[in-house]
């Protein structure tokens, strides 16, 4: 089974576990839809917007020196949009009704995004035979517009962001 089909399965499982979800989509960090299960919204548009929001979120986490990006929650009058990092090159975006249990949304979203990350890594390994693309590049998380400042203080919890430096040529000096 291809990674896309397995991701779609994961999204279906997620929606059946949480009936308050109105949509779920996995996108690459550059805004392309990997798999989606959402009616009533245009997945391509949401994926593209997610990528834009992600760019800002990454800059924010970077500028405030708080390590790698984890998740983004937007609350509106009638619902929520939640975006979770799924490894270095993909994100999971969930749409939910206003009466959703946000605690549970986070738990399920986090679990699902790490599962999607594993699925992508498994296929990344399969295609990692090309010598100059060892990590399934390109990834928009690493190719995002250059950030103005890299936090120079060697923070202990920087393991997530460290992996993102690879392949960008911006290897931290520490």
């Amino acid at each position: 089974m291809s990674a896309e089909a397995e991701i779609l399965d994961e999204l279906h499982r997620l929606r059946s576990r949480m009936p308050q979800l109105t949509g779920a989509l996995a996108a690459s960090a550059d805004g392309l839809v990997l798999a989606q299960d959402s009616r009533g919204v245009e997945p391509e548009g949401v994926a593209a917007l997610t990528a834009a929001a992600l760019g800002i979120a990454l800059r924010l986490t970077d500028a405030t020196g708080q390590g790698g990006f984890r998740e983004l929650l937007v609350r509106s009058d009638r619902g929520y949009v939640a975006t979770y990092a799924a490894g270095p090159s993909a994100v999971l975006t969930l749409l939910a009704e206003g009466r959703v249990n946000v605690g549970r949304l986070h738990l399920e979203g986090r679990r699902s995004s790490s599962r999607i990350s594993e699925l992508l890594q498994a296929t990344g390994r399969a295609t990692a035979q090309q010598p100059d693309r060892p990590r399934g590049q390109p990834s928009a998380l690493t190719d995002a517009p250059p950030l103005p400042i890299r936090p120079t203080s060697p923070r202990a919890g920087g393991s997530r962001s460290r992996s993102r430096h690879r392949g960008t040529g911006e290897t931290p000096t520490t």
Binding site: N101, V102, G103, R104, L105, H106, L107
Partner: protein, 124 residues
């Protein structure tokens, strides 16, 4: 009057057999504070799950046409008691206290009584 952290610590230290406590917002399912739980018992998971319990009961009461309110909910496991107490004080709307008790050590009547007292003194 006690703040969230003090109230939760009080619950854990004064109630015999208590192993974890949380103050949970059931409009969002997220915990405002947690104490104890230890490894292997994630109180944030418990907060989200028990939010569903409280919501289901409130909805059922509404469907039954009961014009009443929940004081507390007791869940009995084979080795633990889980006690949910909804806050009634001003400003405490939409919140509940969640208490995990080791059923071998706890006195249920005493625990309910003490939790009621802690709830009355809690100011959010």
């Amino acid at each position: 009057m006690a703040n969230t952290e003090t109230a939760l610590k009080d619950a854990l230290s004064t109630i015999e057999g208590a192993t974890g406590a949380a103050l949970v917002d059931y409009t969002s399912g997220m915990a405002l504070g947690t104490v104890g739980g230890g490894t292997g018992f994630d109180l944030n998971v418990a907060a989200a799950g028990n939010t569903d319990v409280v919501r289901a009961k409130l909805r059922t009461m509404e469907h039954l046409g009961l014009n009443d309110e929940i004081e507390d909910i007791l869940i009995t496991l084979s080795t633990q008691y889980h006690l949910i107490r909804l806050l009634k004080s001003r400003g405490g709307n939409g919140l509940f206290l969640y208490l995990v008790l080791d059923s071998g050590r706890a006195n249920l009547a005493m625990a309910r009584h003490q939790l009621k007292k802690i709830e009355a003194e809690l100011e959010v």
